[in-house]
């Protein structure tokens, strides 16, 4: 009797384990628009503040102040207080500390200051990290650390910037698009960096697949180093030992063992095969990771990585766009799937080169943050820059598959998002499309929004206009 009970218990436990998220094994398992996330409530997009010049990033303070930092592409970070007031002086300004002019290159709409990340111990050490396109270095991207003076918590002055600056990385960039952008600390205290494939179109440098360049990757570095050491490579990075000096052995090593040698590879690499991971977010609860990888002409994709991952995933660019081929000629085209499939994908207006049309997607997936409220459990909210749609990507445990649900279609050009101190997802929008960019301070101003359950909208709040027809 007891043995039977044990068998039943073990079976039940195994079944329970099988309910966890699965990475799709086949293209048919990749979620497309039209899905429904069980339990997800109706959502509303509530305005928090506006008046920002080309907002392209947002990060909530992790020091209990309730502040929200909004990144302006021109090279400034603005403070939104917990009462929703935008402070007139910028928190950080990279446009006027260099006596020869702005330190930020903003010539093309994809260039500028993209992201700010606060050290996990920001409350004590005041360390903030930025990622931006450098004008002096001709568009190369810089990752730098500045220190907030405790006597001036809302403003890093020009003097303090110059006094405290520590440059961590300087990554050359041959073309003016596909820089990636977001930088963020994982639960492991390491800094993750989204880098695009260096630009143009079609990845002419083959950056996505090459392991000897930092382009087309998610990078992971340790920033807790002495002041004179820019960063170090975490010992547990997947390629940390892939190019170590060693004696050569031809025998006595397994086939698998030999694959550990990747001569010339960059040990900062965490994952590769990415085209332009402008936004990525960790689920604060589980540490799982979602990456919104912007697609080329036809498909946007959302990748998922469980917290237990040891890194080294290949997300397939430029062999695949989503679960399809690249170049994506038609729906029936056959090609190998390289690496790990995304969990969700959605089409552009033209979903294949053969002219097939679709109107369920958009053209540029901007991940916003992982939601664990409003009936959602580990749902990645994604805003589209072109269609103004707000999507959610979540695992449907009952159906054992991923779902991609459209929550609403707005007039907004989403650029970025993050989670606030209460776990609500924030989003920012710009009016900065490719063909309508007047410059980083001359476009109509953008705003900061908060995603709330539709039945919890505060009295008198301004909501984003949404499609009702």
């Amino acid at each position: 009797m007891r043995r039977m009970a044990l068998a039943v218990f073990l079976t039940a436990a195994c079944v329970g384990l099988a309910h966890a998220q699965q990475i799709p094994a086949n293209p048919a398992d990749v979620a497309q628009p039209g899905g429904k996330i069980p339990g997800a409530q109706k959502l509303a997009l509530v305005k928090v503040a506006d008046g920002f010049n080309d907002p392209v990033g947002v990060t909530a303070a992790n020091d209990g102040s309730g502040r929200i930092f909004v990144v302006e592409r021109v090279g400034r970070v603005r403070v939104v207080t917990k009462d929703g007031k935008v402070l007139p002086d910028p928190f950080l300004d990279l446009t006027n500390f260099n006596p020869l002019g702005s330190d930020v290159q903003t010539g093309f709409v994809e260039q500028g200051l993209w992201s700010i990340a606060l050290h996990p111990n920001f409350k004590d050490n005041g360390y903030v990290y930025v990622h931006y396109a450098s004008l002096p270095f001709n568009g190369a991207s810089i990752i730098a650390r500045f220190t907030v003076d405790k006597a001036s918590p809302d403003r890093i002055t020009k003097e303090q910037l110059l006094k405290s600056v520590k440059v961590l990385m300087n990554i050359p960039q041959p073309y003016y698009n596909h820089y990636g952008g977001m930088i963020a600390f994982g639960k492991d205290g390491k800094l993750y960096i989204g880098k695009g494939d260096a630009g143009w179109e079609g990845d002419p440098l083959d950056a996505g697949q090459r392991l000897d360049v930092l382009w087309g990757k998610l990078l992971r570095i340790d920033v807790d180093t002495p002041d004179d050491v820019p960063y170090s490579v975490p010992k547990d990075n997947p390629l940390a030992k892939a190019d170590k000096p060693q004696l050569m052995s031809l025998f006595g090593i397994t086939e698998q063992g030999f694959t550990a040698n990747k001569i010339g590879s960059r040990p900062e690499i965490w994952a590769y095969g990415l085209r332009n991971p402008y936004m990525f977010h960790f689920d604060q609860k589980s540490g799982d990771l979602f990456i919104a990888d912007v697609g080329q002409n036809h498909w946007e994709e959302i990748n998922y990585q469980p917290a237990s991952s040891k890194g080294g995933e290949n997300y397939g660019w430029k062999f695949n766009q989503g679960s399809y081929c690249h170049p994506a000629q038609s729906a029936n085209q056959k090609c190998p799937i390289v690496g790990v499939l995304p969990v969700a994908e959605y089409p552009h207006s033209e979903s294949f080169e053969d002219g097939t049309k679709a109107d369920t997607g958009g053209c540029s997936a901007q991940g916003l943050g992982v939601a664990n409220y409003a009936g959602m459990n580990k749902v990645y909210l994604v805003g589209d820059w072109c269609s103004g749609r707000l999507f959610g990507v979540g695992w449907d445990d009952a159906a054992k598959k991923w779902q991609l649900q459209e929550f609403m279609q707005t007039q907004l050009q989403f650029t970025a998002g993050n989670v606030d101190a209460d776990g609500n997802v924030l989003a920012v929008n710009c009016y900065c499309f490719y063909t309508a960019d007047k410059g980083p301070t001359a476009n109509p101003v953008g705003a900061l929004w908060r995603v709330l359950p539709a039945d919890k909208v505060p009295q008198g709040a301004e909501l984003a206009k949404v499609k009702t027809n």
Partner: protein
């Protein structure tokens, strides 16, 4: 052409002329609305913008006198190439953005000139932002509409 002398007959005749023009239907003025939620749009001029007679007539009747006007269409083409071609294509059939020609339009209201004008003026979703917000004059919007209709074969 002599209009019928009786006022009612004249009115009916004139209405028939308008309807037979093919471009305008009785309820087109209702298309001055947002394609997202159908809310009505109020049109504001840019600072320094003069409301041309064509625009005035258009807002009252829904009739776009730039249709078939070679000079206006030439201007409209240049404006289209500056502002629209990247998303809607040289043939208006769409690429990054949806098609502007044929019967299957993303926003049904774009079939009428007031409907398409309202979308250019006030925007639709995402990257199709309000061109009024970008400083475009309403007279230019009408010229663009007139040009786009020539792509509809």
């Amino acid at each position: 052409m002599q209009l019928p002398s009786h006022p009612c007959a004249a009115a009916v005749f004139a209405a028939a002329l308008v309807l037979c023009a093919g471009a305008v239907h009785a309820d087109d003025l209702a298309d001055f609305k947002s394609p997202l939620d159908g809310s009505p749009i109020t049109f504001k001029l840019q600072s320094g913008e003069v409301e041309t007679p064509v625009v005035v007539k258009f807002k009252k009747t829904g009739v776009n006198d730039y249709r078939g006007n070679a000079e206006a269409i030439k201007d409209g083409k240049a404006l289209y190439e500056d502002n629209c071609i990247i998303c809607h294509g040289a043939d208006g059939k769409g690429k990054l953005g949806p098609t502007l020609v044929g019967d299957k339009l993303i926003y049904k209201q774009a079939k009428s000139d007031p409907g398409m004008f309202a979308i250019i003026y006030g925007g639709a979703s995402g990257a199709m932002q309000s061109f009024a917000n970008r400083g475009m004059k309403q007279d230019d919007m009408l010229k663009i509409v007139a040009y786009v209709r020539t792509l509809d074969k």
